[in-house]
Amino acid sequence: MKMKQRTRRTGIAYLIPAVLFVLLFSVIPFFWNFVLSFQKWDGFGSPAAAGFHNYLSVLQNPLSRRAIGNSILYAFSSTFGGVVLGLLFAVLILRLSQREGGIFRLILYSPAMLPTAVVGIMFVFFFNPEMGLLNNFLRLVGLGGLQHVWLQEKGTAMACIIFVAIWKCAGSVMMLTFAALQGVPRSLYESSYLDGAGFMQQMRKIGFPLIKPMILLATINTLGAQFKSYDLIFTMTQGGPADLTTTVPIVMKKTAFIYGSFGSAAAMGVLFTIVVAVSILLIRWCLRGETYEY
């Protein structure tokens, strides 16, 4: 018993420094943000109570409504694309030899490692109308008519950004689901093979259901990451053309630091947190279902 008390005291001592940091810059700001969202404050002077005024002004402002909508569109469509593509990679690589598959995995995972800001800049080159790779390639193969000013046109800007986001996030889904698929014992496939099931059927009926918890985990991880939209969009379009690709962090920064409306920015943060939490619960619910032991 004495031993247990001694280790407990050491344990608490080990925990304290980390807890102090987390309290100071995560927990306190989280609650402060909540308080701030009910105040009217320009960053100077003293804050005044504002009730739900900030929330109303955020919800009535077309720009912040569009920002929230874009954040949701960006996060969900890039997550969907990333999960589908990542699963496809995992399944295809599963059919190759260990060594060859390893090389493909390494390369296809590499975009996930690159800093988002640099990925953004790389694709500004890629989509550049005159010297960019895409338009040059289209000219080269005689499809010059399909050229666009990709990042400045209304119809293409958001689609291009989502394409880049998928390019970047598919790799980690592949890593996670591949590891899980490898853990499924071969013997489970063998009897279905004897019954004449093809590879795709084996995956759909046996492989995917068995690794469903991992697919859920990969989807939630990706969604959480894709809600962070600042770096990519800021480097690619700065939210343009005409605020068409703007997202929550971009509008928030403007609201607080350019227009000096800290309360409204805080309210936007709270609303956004609710959106993220609800989205994650929604995905959990969509991918619910029984899990199998094997």
């Binding site: 247990k4 001694r6 280790t7 407990r8 050491t10 344990g11 080990y14 925990l15 980390a18 807890v19 987390v22 810059f25 995560s26 700001p29 989280f30 943000n33 990679f89 295809l92 190759l96 390494l106 390369i107 296809l108 490692m113 800093p115 988002t116 800001a117 790389m122 694709f123 080159f125 010297m131 790779l133 040059n136 980690s172 890593m175 996670l176 899980a180 853990g183 499924v184 093809g198 590879f199 084996q202 918890p213 991992m214 959480g224 809600f227 600042y230 770096d231 800021f234 480097t235 929550v248 962090p249 920064k253 607080a256 800290f262 920015a265 805080a266 956004f272 947190t273 993220v276 994650i280």
Partner: protein, 275 residues
């Protein structure tokens, strides 16, 4: 599983197309970084005929990428070391040292690691300015440490739980102090967790922009991603030096990745249950 040769080749070709899509944009940046502007306009696709190393000198000295590089190295290395130290201690406490309410604390930490930065951005800015740190190294390092801790603690704690209690007990019975047990016996066992966490912390902050742009907007101090976006906005069509600057931020990541990739799978699935 059934395999046939034709099928394998179809798979190989499909994957190679994707590989091309992944590699070519990166390759293009490296190629362009070595071309002079006039050569770039004549020869977009192929290897440079004359290597224009001057682009790197221009980016490093005149665009000040060298200064930003140093700033980022200082910020990220301090962040990595301190985060690893604090999260290893906390993770060990939560996993093996009978801390009261450990399970509840772990759940709270897990939830905190999912918290979107938008929900704490403004108050953190106010807090930093109240502390008088605005625009300094600390204004970036301290928040980075705090925000990286939850995930790192969570991963460490899951790894520490796999260390058999018998080993820890044996060390204690042999008269080893708690600190000694931790540093000499337990930490070496969880080296994969340390590497994994180091990777995530390094990659997470090496390219971070949102917080750095809020905190350092009025400061002379700039991290690499901020410096490079500023350069992009001023450089216009000066593609060679701009690509050289991008290469300077990419190369450490690629090197780091090649050295640590074997730990990655363990790290990515660390904390996840068997699929």
């Amino acid at each position: 599983m059934n395999t046939n040769r034709a099928g394998t080749w179809v798979i190989r070709i499909v994957l190679l197309l994707f590989v091309l899509m992944v590699i070519y944009p990166i390759f293009f940046v490296l190629l362009t970084s070595l071309k002079s502007t006039s050569e770039f306009y004549k020869n977009i696709w192929l290897l440079p005929r004359q290597y224009a190393w001057g682009n790197y000198a221009y980016a490093w000295n005149i665009a000040k990428i060298g200064d930003y590089f140093l700033t980022s190295v200082i910020i990220v290395s301090i962040t990595v070391v301190v985060t690893l130290l604090l999260s290893a201690l906390a993770g060990y406490g939560l996993a093996r040292l009978n801390v009261p309410f450990a399970d509840t604390i772990v759940i709270v930490i897990f939830l905190l690691s999912m918290l979107p930065s938008e929900s704490i951005l403004m108050p953190s800015y106010l807090l930093i300015s109240k502390l008088g740190f605005t625009g300094s190294y600390s204004s970036v390092i301290i928040p980075y440490i705090s925000w990286g801790l939850p995930l790192s603690i969570y991963i460490y704690r899951n790894f520490f739980q796999t260390v058999p209690n018998e080993i820890i007990e044996a060390a204690r019975i042999d008269g080893c102090s708690e600190t000694g047990t931790f540093t000499k016996i337990v930490l070496p066992i969880v080296r994969p967790a340390t590497v994994t966490n180091a990777i995530f912390i390094f990659l997470g902050w090496w390219g971070e922009m949102l917080w750095a742009s809020v905190e350092l907007s009025a400061s002379k101090l700039k991290t690499l991603p901020l410096g490079i976006t500023a350069f992009m906005q001023s450089a216009g069509t000066n593609w060679g030096p701009l690509c050289a600057a991008s290469a300077i931020i990419l190369v450490p990541v690629i090197v780091f990745f090649l050295f640590t990739q074997k730990y990655l799978v363990a790290g990515l699935t660390g904390g996840a249950v068997k699929g």
